[in-house]
């Protein structure tokens, strides 16, 4: 059988990954540099009977996908910086109401209107803490066109399983980069769809199955009638002010992540077996970091790459272990230190941590990372 190899943009691959994952609803608002995702979905969704709608703003974009998802859709929206800011309130709604959906943020330079056509990695903390209140967060971060496809599929799977919005934290560099990828055949990638309840409607409680991960839940219109609210609620979805019920709900949201870190966190490592210098980087910046460690190895320097594809939950355990065994960690990012802060939080062994940052709208280059590696060896 012939392989299906295509030359694709990261944004196109994201849209194709969504279709592969079974996405049947997209709502959004045009914004650079994410718009290609909406355009692709507008073209592809109706072909398979799915729905695309361009809303009046990004708030409506996320609102409409939450509504569609509550009615049973596999739903997605895509946006960038300012649009992501507008979505923050309803991102929290999705967490509280436990509605599965995928939110793509193709990061651009900020703050404010910032740099619409230039990339950045400075929404990492917004993805984690942008909405108010304590809440769970899952954010995935592709470093290639192929990963943009595959992590979009994974984002849908995790959304379905964990009953919550999952953020795909792309950046303009990967979103607009073209490279070849081999399209996964049908059935090649695992797809997860949440189970439907089997109890009678009278016995059904929307949040009452005792488990928040992998359990069954119903869609509106399926014969199970229930209430969804952004107010803190009991297992039936009724608003509550009782502290025992509030505690139950908040623990339920927290445990989703805390009790399932091993299955959520993925960290790619290259040349790390004997590495003395680790470069920690994700997304677009990791491409330069990868090139840099390969060139360093060619010079005989024991450098390796640590590259998470899950940025939230943060790979604490893997990082702590690596920080204990390397002499130096270089943190390469296109931000003023959002990633660096997390490494410093975890660095209990006083490993030397060196930032390599760029935030002038341009891509961090392999040379900039390589220079930092070489500097360490002097």
């Amino acid at each position: 059988m012939n392989k299906d190899i295509r030359l694709l943009q990261g944004n196109e691959a994201c849209a194709l990954g969504a279709i592969y994952a079974g996405c049947d609803f997209f709502g959004g608002y045009p914004i650079t540099p994410s718009t290609e995702i909406a355009e692709e979905m507008a073209l592809l969704l109706p072909k398979k009977g799915g729905k695309f709608i361009q809303m009046e703003d990004e708030i409506a974009g996320i609102g409409t996908i939450l509504g569609a998802a509550a009615a049973g859709a596999k739903a997605m929206t895509a946006t960038s910086g300012p649009g992501f800011s507008l979505m923050m309130e309803l991102l929290g709604y999705g967490c509280m109401a436990e509605i599965p959906c995928v939110i793509v943020n193709v990061q651009r330079g900020g703050p404010s209107t910032g740099l619409p056509t230039k990339g950045a990695q400075a929404d990492m903390m917004q993805a984690r803490w942008g909405t108010h209140g304590d809440h769970p967060t899952i954010a995935l971060c592709p470093s290639s066109v192929e990963e943009s496809f595959k992590l979009t599929v994974k984002a849908f799977n995790l959304a379905e399983k964990f009953r919550m919005p999952v953020i795909l934290l792309l950046d303009e560099f990967i979103g607009h980069m073209r490279e070849k990828m081999e399209m996964p055949a049908a059935g090649e990638l695992e797809l997860y769809t949440h189970p439907q309840p089997t109890v009678s409607p009278a016995e059904y409680t929307h949040y009452g199955d005792g488990t928040s991960v992998g359990g069954p839940y119903a869609s509106m219109g399926s014969g199970y009638r229930f209430n969804i609210t952004g107010l803190t609620h009991d297992q039936h979805g009724f608003p509550t002010g009782r502290s025992d019920e509030i505690q139950w709900k908040m623990d339920r949201l927290k445990d989703k992540i805390e009790k399932h870190r091993p299955e959520l966190v993925e960290v790619d490592q290259e040349f790390m077996d004997d590495a003395e210098i680790a470069v920690f980087s994700y997304g677009g910046a990791a491409r330069s970091a990868q090139q840099a460690i390969r060139e360093a190895r060619a010079k005989g320097i024991k450098a390796g790459l640590v590259r998470p594809t899950t940025i939230w939950p943060f790979p604490d355990q893997a990082l702590e272990e690596i920080l204990r065994r390397v002499k130096t960690m270089i943190v390469a990012e296109i931000s003023q230190g959002q990633l660096l802060g997390e490494i410093q939080r975890l660095n209990q062994t006083h490993t030397k941590v060196i930032p390599v940052q760029r935030y002038d709208g341009e891509m961090l280059t392999p040379n900039e990372v390589l220079n930092a590696i070489v500097e360490v060896t002097k």
Binding site: D24, F25, G27, L43, P46, K47, G49, K51, I53, M55, E56, D57, I59, A60, G63, T64, I65, L66, G67, A68, A69, A70, A71, G72, A73, A75, E89, L90, Y93, M220, G221, G223, R225, F226, N227, I228, T229, G230, L231, H236, F238, P239
Partner: protein, 273 residues
């Protein structure tokens, strides 16, 4: 003996009485909605009640439908997604004057423009009740509110005119006092294809009534009784007898093809059928 006919539509397990203040018109509107759905004989499983935030928006939890209590102003955006994904569902949006016309004003006009197949019940009490009586986009100029201690300096919206201008298929207004007319208007709106709006004027005795010295719930309903004119009667009256009155009835009613049906055609086109 006859049991209260609305009880079969109330949410099992939910404690009553509901959250609204004594004499709040919202309970009367809720009764009219329940009766309208009962008259149509629609299955509760097909009903979705979507609301935003505010006094009115607390309604869905009390009614045994599929219910979605969303964020402030965003009910119509959520409802659009529900309806577009599953057009078989009957989607009612429960909203208030602040929810629909201030924070949610953009969604309101755009849903009317794209003719989303929703029925919006806008419970207009001319004030923000939940937060304690601040002025809203429908507080008449000069009226008092907690944020307008000397009277408001702003003009108010006419939600029915706004929706019509934006492209709604159906607009109507009723008052809580005339609960039977309101019920009929809601029933008609529910059966309309496309974006339909029923503005239900609902007294807020606790805040609006007290701040504006309009008396208790009974006095406010008596005022409605004395100052409401149906549009058919109003059209025959001289202007000076209509000014300052609440005009009720159907203002706008046209046959349209709703968004969901047009999108179905797009699907066929995309699939080359």
């Amino acid at each position: 003996m006859r049991m209260h006919p609305s009880y079969e539509m109330l949410r099992p397990g939910k404690k009553f009485p509901h959250v609204w203040c004594p004499g709040c018109g919202h309970g009367i509107v809720q009764g009219a909605i329940i009766r309208a759905v009962q008259k149509l004989g629609w299955s509760r499983d097909e009903m979705v009640m979507v609301s935003g935030i505010g006094c009115s928006s607390r309604m869905p939890v009390y009614v045994d439908f599929n219910s979605l209590h969303t964020a402030h102003g965003r009910a119509i955006a959520f409802a659009t997604g529900v309806k577009l994904h599953n057009p078989k569902l009957h989607v009612i949006v429960i909203t208030g004057d602040g929810d629909a016309l201030a924070i949610g004003g953009n969604h309101f006009i755009h849903a009317a423009r794209r003719n989303a197949d929703l029925t919006v019940i806008l419970m207009n009490n001319n004030i923000y009740g939940m937060t304690g009586g601040q002025y809203s986009p429908t507080t008449p100029i000069g009226k008092r509110a907690s944020t307008a201690p000397y009277g408001t300096a702003e003009r108010d919206f006419d939600p029915c005119a706004l929706a019509k201008a934006a492209g709604a298929a159906f607009t109507a207004r009723g008052v809580a006092y005339n609960a039977l007319e309101l019920e009929k208007l809601i029933e008609t709106a529910l059966t309309k294809k496309g974006f339909s709006l029923v503005e239900a004027i609902s007294p807020c005795p606790t805040l609006y009534g007290r701040l504006n010295k309009e008396g208790n719930a009974v006095k406010m309903l008596q005022w409605q009784k004395a100052n409401t004119i149906n549009i058919k009667a109003a059209e025959k009256l001289p202007m000076d007898q209509v000014t300052g009155k609440i005009i009720t009835g159907i203002f706008h009613d046209v046959e349209t093809v709703p968004y969901t049906e047009i999108y179905d055609r797009i699907i066929k086109k995309a699939q080359g059928k």
